[in-house]
């Protein structure tokens, strides 16, 4: 019997502003975790810093509220040390595509089996409304003294360029759709990314609920949309990336949500590590016993001598 969504509530009061899109996201997370029946003690949510970054505290699974922009490195260390864990990152658009951009790209290159849920509100919520990297140029949200002067980042395009093997967009108020995306992303083997459009009711008076409700359409409902790479053929992969990329350019009267790209046939970092060290998955770093029952190192003098023999010289005297 699957755990109930409410078992994933940590019980803490959620101190987001009433009406904040984050509530939709966390509800979708609870539901997705429940439907996947994730074991709380084997699941980790890693947050960045921001309104979104607080997410781990509100969920009753292991939570790491990390540093601004650094959720991905924390998550990577946790996951690689113990690949048995399900690791999900929740971060803001500023967190992930601003200060954390380098790590975001690195995760794509590695294709570690981590899911990144980006709370895309176009602003730096917790620092009172400055422009985030997803805010389009020329837009002046409430707290800005002048219209935004930098071009926006296209999160989908960047994720595709970086190598994420699952790239999707959700809308925080379309909870069931989002829940499905989260489930699929977590179930996906490899680095997955969901750009979640999230109205910030306090600071983003442009990308509002109304703004989105008029524009959003669901990709899956587009007749022939098939984001998934079915073979291991590079040309198929390229074609799918290309179609996703083109679709990602849509932002105006119509904004697509759904899965843009998905490639289940691509090796994960963990698999690559296993190629190097065959015992890796079975005995990952966190699960090795490193001490004898007497509290001594496993490397005894003899093992040491043998393993590092290249560095040991038996002197002439000794040999004679």
């Amino acid at each position: 019997m699957a755990r109930n969504p409410s078992t994933y509530r940590s019980g803490l009061w959620i101190d987001w502003c009433p009406g904040c899109g984050n509530f939709g996201i966390i509800t979708a997370v609870y539901k997705a975790f429940s439907e996947l029946d994730l074991d709380p003690s084997k699941t980790v949510v890693v947050g960045g810093i921001g309104c979104s970054g607080k997410t781990p505290h509100f969920i009753n699974v292991n939570g790491v509220h990390s540093l601004h922009g650094r959720a991905i490195p924390f998550a990577t260390g946790i996951k690689l040390a113990n690949p048995e864990l399900t690791v999900v990152v929740n971060g803001g658009d500023g967190d992930i595509l601003g200060i954390g951009m380098g790590h975001f790209i690195a995760l794509g290159r590695r294709n570690v089996d981590i899911t990144v849920i980006m709370h895309d509100n176009g602003v730096y919520g917790l620092t009172k409304g400055q422009a985030a990297p997803t805010l389009k140029r020329g837009i002046k949200t409430k707290a800005l003294s002048k219209p935004n002067i930098q071009d926006a980042i296209n999160p989908i395009a960047i994720a595709l360029s970086a190598g994420y093997t699952f790239v999707a967009r959700g809308y925080s108020l379309n909870i069931d759709h989002l829940k499905e995306l989260i489930k699929q992303a977590i179930s996906h083997k490899g680095a997955s990314f969901i750009d979640v459009l999230q109205p910030c009711v306090v600071y983003n008076n442009i990308y509002t609920r109304e703004f989105y409700s008029e524009r959003i359409y669901v990709l899956d409902e587009v007749g022939d949309w098939d984001p998934e790479v079915k073979s291991e053929r590079v040309d198929e992969m390229m074609q799918k990336i290309d179609q996703a990329w083109r679709r990602s350019l849509e932002w105006g009267d119509k904004i697509p949500i759904g899965i843009f790209y998905k490639n289940p046939n691509y090796s994960t970092f963990e698999e690559r590590l296993s190629m190097e060290v065959p015992t890796y998955l079975e005995k990952p770093p966190a699960k090795q016993v490193i001490t004898t029952s007497e509290g001594r190192p496993i490397f005894t003098g003899d093992v040491f001598r043998e393993f590092f023999s290249k560095y040991i010289i038996r002197t002439k005297n000794n040999r004679r």
Binding site: N62, L85, T279, P285
Partner: protein
């Protein structure tokens, strides 16, 4: 100084095989039972800039100190001669290719103009012409030095012909000519050389054959002409086995023993070789494996290492100043979250890029206070390869026992010098992971009923939270005015607990007799140089002591106070590789006792015994209370 020890040097351009030469020589000499230290000095450059190996070979001890002058100088090029001629001792030998005689100082493009003009001045003062030939002649005529002139080209032609090697490839053997000449003068036996070659080249039989042939040939020719004037007495060292390792190597080995299971890094001099070693030696089959990961930057390095530690792996990263400067934010996160993570920090010349391939001890105060806010940490330093080995293991034990981040503060001198050492004794090594529990329902990661709360890993049966913000016992963010202070205190009080519990021997050591006439105070790589200088001065009737500081946080306040209060402070001298004398600042900070004499060096080169000895005398004579050392090229 020690007449039976041999100080030698080989110099040449980066990329010309100097490192290989040093390895072969060191192995050969170790095989013959000698103790060796070999320091490598080099520019931030891959090919062409001047580099040299400075060795101390001893038949009766394992040397861990360096000194001048040198008895033997093997020169790959004219730049070596121009750079090091003043380093040669009377009665010494300089080995060179006959073609260098014609080289003019001004034509050496790889020598920086500033250095060139400095040397030009010296030559002018001495009335020597600006070509290497004149300089060599001067050395021979005025300094009692013997020039061992060889025709490199003919040797290379010879092996080229003999083995059918194309001549461009043959130049790769140049360094073996020097090895041959040295082997001749020192009288290194053939089996020792062969042993050295085999260690270096493994099963590349051809390479070994060619080299042996060449070395043999040169060696014979040289000893026929010059005898074996530098013949070393047979080794009196009674060791059957020697470990030959650089500081990077030995730390990596220690980490393997310590049970390191996750190492993240971003390449940087002089730390990267440690991670490279671990990448090579990361798979122990059924004994386990280490995951070594090259991250996108140092920020990711520290934060992924922290992540791995949370999941329960012994975890570390290795870096130097610029890398650490990107880690300080993560370091603070580890502090507030009581994460046992080890940062192996190899100091190099600063600030910023500074002198990236040169040594320094100028990051001490920074290590003590790095990152905003306050938290308990350990800053542990090591005086030599042997200490470093045990300390590197202890760093993990302390980190886990006290649940604090640990900085293991080392330097380039240690990192890049290769020494012979006895094989570490693992029989007394312990692994202490502190109090680890499985957690279970209701687990409180930061349980306030104990200063050091029992630790469960993420992945155990518990659910837990961590946050970089101030938090409650469960790890949830907390801003309550009363409880924030309590959690703050819990973290800070560890400093007192550690101060009480960590054995003094790990934190400080006193060397020398009681009631010394003078006391040196130092830490890190200066240790053995100080000990040797004290030894030297003893022969002049001066009784010296050396206070070796090892742990700066928590600082052994009482012990230092006792020692220093017993001393006439005007006879206490801090010895350090920096400008501000940071260890003295630390002592003043923690004890209020101000050491006013100092001997410092901050040009990136190691302190040498000969200059330190002189400087001590100068300070003790009252001539000066601050001596700035500058020796070296």
């Amino acid at each position: 100084m020690n007449e039976d020890e041999l100080i030698l040097m080989i110099g040449g351009p980066q990329g010309s095989g100097l490192e290989t030469t040093a390895q072969i020589l060191t192995s050969s000499l170790a095989y013959s039972g000698y103790g060796v230290i070999s320091d490598r000095e080099y520019y931030s450059n891959i090919t062409g800039r001047h580099s040299y190996i400075h060795m101390n070979v001893s038949p009766h001890r394992i040397p861990l100190d360096l000194t001048y002058p040198v008895k033997l100088l093997g020169a790959m090029d004219a730049e070596t001669i121009f750079t090091h001629f003043n380093d040669l001792d009377k009665g010494g030998f300089v080995i060179y290719d006959r073609s260098v005689r014609g080289r003019k100082l001004d034509s050496i493009v790889s020598m920086p103009p500033i250095t060139k003009s400095r040397i030009r001045e010296v030559l002018e003062k001495l009335g020597i012409g600006r070509d290497a030939g004149s300089l060599i002649d001067y050395l021979v005529e005025n300094r009692g030095i013997t020039g061992v002139e060889l025709d490199f080209r003919s040797f290379l032609k010879d092996i080229s012909n003999k083995f059918g090697i194309v001549s461009t490839q043959a130049t790769r053997y140049t360094s073996s000519i020097l090895v041959g000449a040295l082997a001749g003068l020192i009288d290194i036996e053939r089996d020792a050389i062969e042993y050295g070659l085999r260690r270096r080249f493994g099963s590349r039989e051809k390479l070994i054959k060619h080299n042996i042939y060449l070395i043999d040939k040169v060696s014979r020719q040289v000893s026929e002409e010059y005898g074996t004037p530098m013949k070393l007495p047979p080794s009196k060292l009674n060791v059957g086995e020697l470990l030959v390792a650089s500081g990077n190597d030995i730390i990596a080995m220690a980490k393997v023993v310590a049970g390191l299971r996750f190492q993240s890094y971003y390449p940087i001099t002089p730390a990267a070789d440690e991670s490279f070693f671990l990448e090579t030696y990361n798979n122990f089959g059924d004994k386990g494996s280490i995951l070594v990961i090259q991250t996108e930057d140092e920020i990711a390095a520290i934060n992924s290492a922290i992540g791995a530690a949370l999941a329960g792996a012994r975890s570390a990263t290795a870096t130097s100043g610029p890398g650490f400067s990107l880690m300080v934010e993560g370091f603070g996160w580890a502090g507030i979250n009581e994460v046992p993570v080890v940062i192996t920090y190899y100091q190099r010349g600063g600030p910023a890029t500074g002198l990236p391939t040169r040594g320094a001890q100028s990051d001490l105060m920074y290590s003590l206070f790095a990152s905003h806010g306050e938290f308990a940490r350990i800053v542990l330093t090591s005086g030599d390869h042997i200490e470093a080995f045990y300390d590197a293991i202890e760093a993990f034990n302390l980190a886990e026992k006290y649940q604090v981040p640990v900085i293991h503060l080392l330097d380039k001198f240690l990192a890049n010098s290769i020494v012979t050492m006895e094989i570490p004794d693992l029989s007394s090594v312990k692994i202490d992971r502190g109090e680890i529990v499985d957690g279970g329902p209701g687990y409180k990661r930061f349980d306030l009923s104990k200063t050091i709360s029992p630790r469960a890993f993420i992945g155990s049966s518990a659910v837990m939270w961590y946050t970089g913000s101030e938090h409650d016992e469960y790890g949830h963010t907390n801003e309550d005015p009363v409880f924030t202070a309590r959690m703050y205190e819990k973290r800070m009080e560890k400093l007192d607990i550690m101060d009480k519990e960590i054995p003094l021997d790990l934190r400080i050591r006193y060397y020398g007799e009681k009631n010394p006439d003078y006391l040196l105070v130092g830490w890190g790589f200066v240790k053995n140089t100080c000990l040797k200088a004290i030894d030297n001065l003893k022969r002049k009737g001066l009784k010296g002591g050396y206070l070796h500081l090892r742990m700066f946080m928590p600082f052994p306040v009482k012990y230092v106070e006792e020692i220093l209060e017993d001393m006439d402070i005007s006879r206490v001298i801090a010895v350090e590789h920096d400008y501000m004398v940071q260890s003295a600042l630390a002592i003043s900070l923690f004890t209020g006792i101000r050491i006013r004499n100092s001997i410092v060096k901050y040009n990136g080169r190691p302190i040498y015994v000969h200059e330190l000895t002189e400087a001590i005398e100068k300070v003790l004579s009252g001539e000066d209370n601050r001596v700035v050392l500058t020796y070296g090229a």
